[in-house]
Point group: C2
DNA sequence: ACAATGACTCGCACGGCGTACAAGAGCCCG
DNA sequence: CGGGCTCTTGTACGCCGTGCGAGTCATTGT
């Protein structure tokens, strides 16, 4: 469909497939964009590339989508759809439900680290159906725990700010690694010169690096996330009206 | 210096200013880049634009800086330099010191909302001198409070993850507004259709929007940040060995 | 039966981008 | 005087997003 060889005769030219349905659709475009983003990161998503991946051309996309930003908004709302909010009937269940939500949200960001580079579009995507649902369900979760509406909003924002902050750092590092600038070995090695340099003026940093020297970085990130999550939940739980 | 008119005579042509010192320097380039970023956002920073702003051309910059990413790393470390960590002698002072640090850090991000789009470069910039100092001083702050090295690291990461997460959201919204896509009035109006839409399926969201209807958005953000900050500090403080 | 409309797709062109590369220009040291 | 060092410039390449007009169907109105 994309190759334009010149056919020698009308007869050999393939009859235009009757247009049973449009060859492009918004869903198809969004799906392929998501595939590209997950596979190769934000740098690989260009309208030209996306068009050819769809067996078409860049400009054809503009019928279905206003511009690239809008396309990314759609993809962002799509991945918001992957986060499910657990329902908690009792206050006892609330803490575990909130923790599960936080872990799922972080996992979603780490599955799609390019979201980190789409923050502008995320602002708009917050009006998408999936993020509206997410916000609403989260509000419900915190209300069920015993907060009134406004404090439920604040508490929820607190939790997701923590998740967003830490997952964003992780995702940025991971996607930088994944883009193949350097392997994990080289990454650590590139750290050591500045660590030595730092040793002169910053003894605490040196001690910290030494402590992390031979640890599994993935496990470190998990532990660090889990630690902070407990602290944030502690702080929020302390505000709950005593049962 | 950038205009290349042909002079009619050797005499009218300005004598090449003897090169007392190079006409460009890394410091100068970084400073001008920062000015551009603060004034017009990340979209306005192109090597060509920066070059002409410096009375030169884009390619001249590459003598002083390897590439655009490295330039941004330098600017990012520069703004890290704006954050000062208060020293806390006693445990009693720790909480206020940590809160001050968090507020300063957020203020820095809101002063330079483009940092939000430079996350990849921030990962590298974490090896810059200013961020090393920042990390070290923060570690010291949490150690002084009574944590051992590793928990000080975790607790510090928790606090800055929260700050980063919430300030990032704020900055993304602010810089999108600032880019003039729409005024604050239009922004709120553009919210209402989707709020009405949301009302159908998401009654809690509607109630929340109504509650925020006539409030000052700036103050809301302040309150929200302050609330979460207290919760996070509560959660961390609860882990301190009892005095 | 035929024309008109609307839904899509495509080709072309514009102005911008980062940056590789090579040629200069001014200066210092021999 | 001449070579080499430091720094600046011009040119060029291959990308990018997207506005615009022309083309290609399927459907609808007459």
């Amino acid at each position: 469909m994309s190759e334009q060889q010149s056919y020698p005769s009308v007869w050999t030219r393939p009859r235009r497939t009757r247009r049973e349905q449009p060859s492009l659709s918004r869903e198809q475009i969004v799906a392929e964009a998501l595939r590209l983003l997950d596979a190769e990161g934000i740098g690989a998503l260009s309208m030209r590339r996306l068009g050819s991946q769809l067996g078409s051309v860049a400009t054809a996309i503009y019928w279905h989508v206003a511009n690239k930003d809008e396309l990314i908004e759609l993809v962002v709302d799509e991945v918001f759809g992957e986060v499910k909010v657990p329902v908690a009937g009792s206050r006892a269940e609330w803490r575990e439900a909130a923790a599960t939500l936080a872990r799922d949200w972080r996992a979603m960001i780490l599955r799609h680290p390019w979201t980190v580079h789409a923050l502008d579009e995320m602002v708009s995507a917050f009006h998408g159906p999936n993020s509206l649902r997410l916000s609403d369900e989260m509000l419900a979760l915190f209300e069920a725990a015993g907060f009134d509406l406004l404090e439920a909003d604040h508490a929820g924002k607190t939790l997701i700010s923590y998740v967003l902050g830490i997952a964003t750092s992780e995702a940025a590092a991971l996607s930088k690694l994944a883009r193949g600038d350097q392997s994990e070995r080289e990454w650590i090695q590139s750290l050591w010169p500045s660590a030595d340099e730092a040793a002169r003026d910053h003894p605490r940093l040196r001690a910290l690096y030494a402590a992390y020297r031979d640890a599994d970085p993935g496990k470190n990130r998990e532990d660090s996330f889990a630690y902070g999550l407990e602290r944030v939940l502690d702080g929020i739980e302390a505000r709950l009206p005593r049962s």
